[in-house]
């Protein structure tokens, strides 16, 4: 099966499959079109096939089936060094026996560029990542964040149209990671280069990407911009994987006009948007974001109203996190904004809880 041809696809996976052992498929039928200039993130748990997909694009793994196109040309049989794709590796892979400047000059020298031009480009690239004076250092003499920037500069110095990044921030501590996310994002915006980024960190994906492809079990579960992915997950895996999520399981009782009525396992009835169910009589998973659940809702605000028992109240500064027992689930989380009128809530209180149909999505079982 092939997806409709898009004339603007710069990178295109067409029915790509990959198996390492001839028994299991690590990547099952991958179809993605990536337009020029996009920042696309492959997000997923480990073993979901995202890194394998990236390695196939880079040319270090061969697809067992299907085609990968770059700029309209199939690159299945093109050697990695002829693909002209920049790559940032997980542990940077900076050559330890070369100085920073020599590392940056390497891709230019193998392209037989003149000495003067190499020097100029290396300096430009170093300035871009604000490491202008570090050219003569060895990678080992730099901090983790500086090495990371050198690795990014090296992948960009030969001006590739496509840059691949394989969990490049995994080795950095939290603060540095966040700072580097913005730096990479800004470099992408400034240069307009196409980036395919692999990570298992969802906040990283949400921060940087134009679109995110959520991988699980060798398939893309959903490919969408960050807001859509969070607001409108299409299946239970995506809802659970991206952000915090309350899950209620039950059976669809009736469907009408895009809205379905679900009987929960304990017999309570909930109205939800019918997104991805198999129709009346089939099981379903309801997804509900904790911040879209209201305590003591005003009349008419919520179509679904229940009574909940506060089992745990955790004060987190900007919001209060309440774990409640609702509809037979005792791991139901409600995030309450920290406003002066909510101070009274205490463990053991029983209070009315409600949510709107629009915030409750009925997904696959």
């Amino acid at each position: 099966m092939t997806s409709p041809v898009s004339s603007e696809a710069f990178v295109r996976f067409d029915g790509v499959q990959k198996s390492y052992d001839g028994v299991n498929l690590v990547v099952k039928d991958l179809n993605v079109d990536i337009p020029r200039g996009e920042f696309l993130t492959m997000l997923g748990p480990s073993g979901s096939g995202k890194t394998t997909s990236l390695m196939m694009l880079a040319g270090f793994e061969t697809a067992t089936h299907g085609d990968i196109f770059l700029n309209g040309r199939s690159i299945n049989n093109v050697a990695p060094h002829k693909r002209g794709i920049g790559m940032v590796f997980q542990n940077y892979a900076l050559f330890p026996h070369m100085t920073v400047a020599e590392n940056l000059a390497f891709p230019l020298q193998v392209r037989k560029m003149g000495k003067a031009e190499v020097k100029e480009r290396v300096q430009k690239a170093l300035d871009m990542v604000e490491l202008g004076v570090f050219g003569n250092r060895r990678p080992a003499q730099l901090s983790g964040g500086q090495q990371q920037r050198v690795a990014v500069a090296r992948a960009l110095v030969f001006e590739p149209d496509l840059v691949l990044m394989d969990e490049p921030l995994g080795a950095l501590d939290k603060n540095l990671r966040e700072q580097m996310q913005y730096e990479i994002k800004h470099i992408h915006e400034r240069l307009g280069v196409t980036v395919v980024y692999v990570t298992h960190d969802q906040s990283e994906a949400l921060t940087m990407s134009n679109r995110i492809a959520v991988f699980e079990d060798g398939r893309i579960q959903q490919l969408a911009p960050p807001t859509e992915l969070y607001e409108k997950p299409e299946n239970a895996f995506v809802a659970q994987f991206i952000g915090e999520n309350n899950t209620l399981t039950g059976r669809v009782d009736a469907v009408a006009g895009g809205i379905c009525e679900v009987v929960l396992d304990n017999g309570d009835r909930v109205k939800a948007l019918d997104i991805n169910t198999d129709g009346a009589g089939h099981g379903t998973t309801l997804s509900l974001r904790p911040e879209r659940v209201f305590l003591n809702p005003v009349d008419g605000q919520c179509q679904n109203m229940f009574s909940g028992l506060a089992e745990e109240v955790i004060y987190l500064g900007d919001h209060i996190r309440v774990r409640m027992n609702i509809c037979g689930h005792n791991d139901f989380i409600v995030k309450v904004p920290n406003s002066s009128d909510k101070k009274g809530l205490a463990k053991g209180d029983t209070i009315p809880v409600g949510w709107s149909i629009d915030d409750c999505r009925a997904l696959d079982a």
Partner: protein
């Protein structure tokens, strides 16, 4: 008493002294323990390594016979200028030595030693010693009367040269040089040179063997390092297998393989590649030594190479490829430089082992494949010239240390890594 620290945190000089004493006391038991732990090994090394080497160093310069068995002559000759025949006093000393030596029957040892330097000295000494009881002073005339060779000033020069209990003569001989009676040192004619040629051959053959182990070991190590650990460990047994087999067995099997009626020649004849009467001479020559020693020393190259290659992440090669380098450039500019510590460690190991090798060249080397070690063994066991063996051994030691010095200067010892 505990040391008090004031608000500033500084200690007064006396208190610093006390703190040091406290520290010393608290560490004393540990130090004693450490000493006791290493003591057995230190004693072992002193007895089995330092002492024999020291003994060998001394033997290579020791030459006590003339000094010991002709003590008066040796002492008297100290002030002799060597311009003209010695005076009566020296002849008298010689006569005393001959009398004493004849009585103790030990004059022959000095005579033999002198004969090494200049043939005819033995009969001169022994003949004079026999006649000494009948000789009356003045001794100068009487001794020259007894044997006119005593009038030959060159003989006296030989005695004077050997009168010191120490000598450089072994080293002079080990460098293929000889000392003329006048004390001038010059090389022997080229067709008589043995040792320098052998040193040179040992050196270049060791280098050749080292180069061969690098060429053969590098691809194997690379292959092993690229395999998953489980498979690599199984294959590593094949590399280590030779270690567990006796050196003698391995060398002997090379004889079976390479000799003219051996397996390899039979195979070549059978395949029709060579005629029966053209069987290749692959053993009992330099070629045999190189083949057998390359095989025997190969594990010493593979092991350090493998463990260094294991530490080079495959992502470096991938990074180089993604940056546009073809496989060859990626290997040459990125992979190889990172394995140089392993090559260094393997090369220095193989080279130093090779340069002192003995058994294999002795068994498969024939004439052209002998190493300097074989000649040292010959002097130890065959000619019983231990002084010569010691001098050659010391020269070998100096050579190895010199090469190691050059190596650490140009390559750097820090560049050697065993994993």
């Amino acid at each position: 008493m505990a040391i008090t620290v004031d608000a500033s945190g500084d200690l007064s000089p006396e208190e610093q002294k006390r703190l040091k004493a406290d520290l010393h006391r608290s560490l004393f038991r540990n130090k004693v323990r450490a000493c006791l732990l290493v003591a057995p090994l230190v004693v072992f090394i002193l007895v089995t390594f330092v002492a024999p080497i020291g003994n060998m160093l001394i033997r290579s310069v020791e030459d006590p016979q003339v000094n010991e068995y002709m003590p008066l002559t040796s002492a008297a000759l100290q002030d002799w200028d060597g311009q003209e025949l010695p005076d009566e006093a020296i002849f008298a000393a010689l006569a005393q030595d001959l009398i004493a030596g004849r009585e103790s029957k030990e004059i022959g040892k000095a005579a033999t030693r002198l004969n090494y330097e200049s043939s005819g000295m033995r009969s001169l000494i022994m003949g004079s010693a026999r006649k000494i009881s009948r000789i009356e002073p003045p001794y100068k005339e009487a001794l020259i009367e007894a044997d006119k060779d005593w009038a030959d000033i060159d003989n006296w020069k030989v005695i004077k040269r050997l009168s010191s209990p120490y000598t450089t003569s072994y080293y002079v001989a080990a460098l293929d040089m000889e000392t003329s009676p006048d004390g001038e040192v010059s090389f022997v004619p080229e067709n008589q040179q043995i040792y320098l040629k052998l040193f040179w051959r040992t050196l270049w053959m060791s280098m050749l063997i080292t180069a061969m182990t690098v060429l053969l070991g590098y691809p194997v190590s690379y292959f092993l390092a690229s395999l998953p650990v489980k498979k690599a460990n199984v294959l590593m047994i094949l590399v280590l297998l030779p270690f567990w087999t006796s050196l003698l067995v391995r060398t002997s099997s090379w004889i079976a393989m390479l000799q003219s009626q051996g397996i390899l020649n039979d195979l070549l004849v059978w395949l029709g590649i060579i005629a029966d009467e053209q069987r290749l001479q692959m053993i009992y020559n330099a070629l045999g030594t190189v083949i057998a020693m390359t095989h025997i020393l190969l594990p010493f190259m593979i092991l350090p190479l493998y463990s260094v290659m294991k530490t080079v992440p495959p992502s470096y090669l991938r990074a180089a490829r993604s940056l546009g380098a073809n496989p060859w450039t990626a290997f040459w500019q990125v992979y190889l430089p990172q394995t140089i510590p392993g090559i260094s460690a393997g090369a220095i190991l193989v080279f130093i082992l090779a340069i002192g090798y003995y058994i294999t060249p002795a068994l498969v080397g024939g004439q052209s494949g002998q190493f300097i070690g074989n000649l040292i063994a010959y002097h130890m066991q065959g000619s019983l010239n231990w002084g010569m063996a010691a001098a050659l051994g010391v020269m070998l030691l100096v050579l190895v240390m010199g090469i190691y010095g050059l190596y650490s200067r140009f390559v750097g010892v820090n560049n050697v890594k065993l994993g």
